[in-house]
Symmetry: C2
Subunit: 186 residues, 2 copies
DNA sequence: AGCGTCATGTAATGTGTTACATGATTCG
DNA sequence: CGAATCATGTAACACATTACATGACGCT
């Protein structure tokens, strides 16, 4: 039991970010509020407790920088157990529920999988993602066809947007798979 | 104070759905697990407490159907106060946070706004949605440009997907605005 | 008799949100 | 000197997830 499970999307994001380089709670706070990782909630009340949990679970360790100066900062980095935990999480198969309800997390997993585990794992994530979409699209199309054309078609438009989005995502995934596959490998 | 605030996306979905027609907890459960509204979580442990909250807030009222038979069902419908609450919620401006973190909810609001309040309110929702994207895209593009081309470009791909998705969404919104505007109005 | 579905809930647990608290530093 | 930013947290509250509990109906 050297590697605890990752419970929330926020914890996954934190693990990956402190794997990239040591970061403080405040660093993470800024990333979650200003960068493209906005989707990951993030407020002091979420980030600091998450850091505490991960620390208690042995996944990260904090080291105080600038101890001599008057403004110390606690920079966290991954422990060996933390690396194992993160890798195990990244290797997990992508579920339909991940696709429908935690898409942001899937893209994080793709990116971290690529950086930590290499091209093949990143490609696997994308392939599973695209396959779920392929299977889910006909279901959505059937639902669209089943909507009666009564009042304003508002529901139809909304559903159509969902279908278009999934189609674009699957195309993106396959394009990236292609490019990654071609990278110095013939 | 005849209209309470809508606290969670789930509550908004429930209000809109029981406005369309009276529905039981089990009906909602099926919708959230099988239809395109999968994104709205949904399990008995979420739906029934939500119904209870809305009922206590005076937004919905339950009526028992088939009281004589051995399998009664509690069908909920909107009260006058519930209609007010829902309308107020639908008229709320769309924030950037709504766009980034609660997109699904925005599309629900669009659809219900169209059905309950008419074309103009639906168009307003879409316009605000598209405007936020217009303002946000340059920020994302700047972030993409700032990513160093070091190791595997995985982060770049993920970010690019986000940008493409927002672009497609804005295009969808404008297309729908166009079509709605043309509907028997010259 | 047993399984799947209809149908409604509760309890424990964990996590995020909002708001607050504290104090140093930098810039104008 | 005051405001913004750096920096780290805590507390109350609400909400979702998971798992459990209950019981009738319909079919084989």
């Amino acid at each position: 039991m050297s590697s605890k499970p990752v419970n929330s999307p926020l914890e996954l994001a934190v693990l990956g970010l402190v794997w990239q380089k040591p970061r403080s709670g405040y660093d993470l706070l800024k990333i979650f509020s200003e960068s493209a990782l906005r989707g990951f909630s993030s407020s002091a009340g979420a980030v600091y407790p998450a850091l505490k949990r991960l620390k208690r679970g042995g996944c990260i360790a904090g080291k105080i920088e600038n101890r001599d100066t008057l403004r110390p900062r606690r920079a966290y980095s991954l422990t060996a157990a933390g690396v194992e935990t993160l890798k195990r999480c990244l290797r997990q198969p992508v579920t339909l529920d991940d696709v429908v309800r935690r898409a942001e997390e899937v893209f994080l997993r793709f990116a971290f999988a690529g950086e930590m585990l290499g091209r093949n794992e990143a490609i696997r994530v994308l392939r599973e993602y695209a396959r779920h979409i392929d299977a889910y699209l006909p279901v959505l199309r059937a639902q669209l066809a089943a909507i009666p054309r009564t009042s304003g078609d508002y529901g139809r438009y909304a559903l159509q947007r969902g279908i278009d989005g999934y189609k674009a995502d699957a195309r993106w995934a396959r394009r990236v798979i292609d490019r990654l596959s071609r990278q110095r490998s013939g």
